[in-house]
Symmetry: C2
Subunit: 239 residues, 2 copies
């Protein structure tokens, strides 16, 4: 009896540790989502105050990355998880890296917003920022949702959206280059938009990475570097 | 007796698995190093043939990332490593991600080289590419060396160099912008140099990440997001 009780205590604590690290990750995801939205807003509204908040809050995300990783290492050392628990811990470790990088990209956008608030708005590119910004914000929310709900179909949607964003990004960059040629005095400001578009495109890539981790978590298949077709096949296979 | 023998067999196999995954990682590191050097060379020599090789070979790096990660997951599941072995496996998992991203950046440089081979060379920026390219190639070699030799002092050197590269990158970008303003017809070609400089700067960041993983591996301290001073303190503390 007493052994059962103690082992159920241990497994209860183990479950608590796993849920603890999961909720930390989701909290981190929520903060990163807000950072991305605020960074885009600060650029569109030429609001350097919001932008400065984004820059400042990036350290919080960095701290969370380190804390979550440390907890994951402790779980691996103490609990020696196997099968789906192990995949969960590995997924969390990979996802914190992507979330931290998304935070970095949000900070870069905020820095461009601060620059543009000083130099005056760029003469062009805000429609593209708004549009691509909206797409990648949605991708990030969906990627995090797909993780919370372990929803591989939603994860696949994110990957599909990433392809569309890459195309839109390419078009936007070409338009900005034409603009710079026509009005060379605006170059440094248009470059602020260019770097921000680049950061948004990278955020899309990281959201896709998170979606790929979700498919690994649920299906056990590593779908990084495979095409959408192969990905769709992996999630439709019954295990 | 037979138990001893079988457990020593198991531990021998475990050691083999750990060395196996380590040598895979080092092999991957060597390939990535070459990709970076070739990408820079293709840009400087306006050699689209080398550039196309770099683009093609990127899939090899991607495949290696997936293979190493899979082996690491197997070791975690079967061997349940603790202490320094666990840190080694976690370090390898993190390092493959950085190496794969470095490979992506090399591919991006190669793509710009292909574009510039078609459109004609940029009128400016090759000195900066050569200089920063040399710095980040050295950083990458040193980061990989520091991992092989578990040399935290060398890892610290890499982090210091990254700060210098970031400053040089900032200067180079400002110069390129001035150049574009003076000669707007060259904008699309100078942008090819800009994106390449950006990719080099990112390679420097990833080399620094690898150096940080080495300090974690050897010292057990997570030195991501801390300054150089704090890093130096972590490596000088006796454990």
């Amino acid at each position: 009896m007493s052994t059962d009780k103690s082992s159920s205590h241990i497994s209860q604590r183990y479950d608590d540790e796993l849920s603890g690290v999961k909720s930390q990750l989701f909290e981190m995801g929520g903060i990163v989502e807000k950072q991305v939205k605020d960074a885009i807003q600060s650029l569109l509204d030429i609001d350097s105050q919001i932008a400065e908040h984004v820059v400042k809050d990036d350290t919080r995300i960095n701290d969370m990355e380190v804390a979550v990783d440390e907890d994951c290492a402790l779980i691996l050392a103490r609990r020696q998880p196997a099968a789906s628990d192990l995949r969960l811990v590995l997924t969390i470790i990979k996802t914190t890296t992507d979330l931290e990088r998304i935070g970095d990209e949000a900070r870069k956008i905020a820095n461009q917003a601060i620059m543009l608030a000083e130099e005056g708005p760029a003469p062009s590119g805000y429609v593209e920022i708004r549009h691509i910004g909206h797409s990648v914000s949605t991708m990030l929310s969906q990627a995090l949702d797909s993780l919370v709900r372990q929803d591989v179909n939603l994860a696949l949607e994110v990957a599909k959206k990433d392809k569309a964003v890459d195309l839109e990004y390419g078009t936007a960059v070409r338009e900005m280059m034409t603009y710079m040629m026509e009005d060379p005095r605006s170059i440094s400001r248009v470059m602020g938009i260019m770097w921000s578009l680049r950061a948004l495109e990278r955020i899309g890539d990281h959201a896709r990475n998170i979606a790929e981790h979700v498919i690994y978590l649920v299906k056990g298949d590593d779908v990084r570097h495979v095409g959408i077709k192969q990905m769709a096949k992996a999630i439709s296979d019954d295990d």
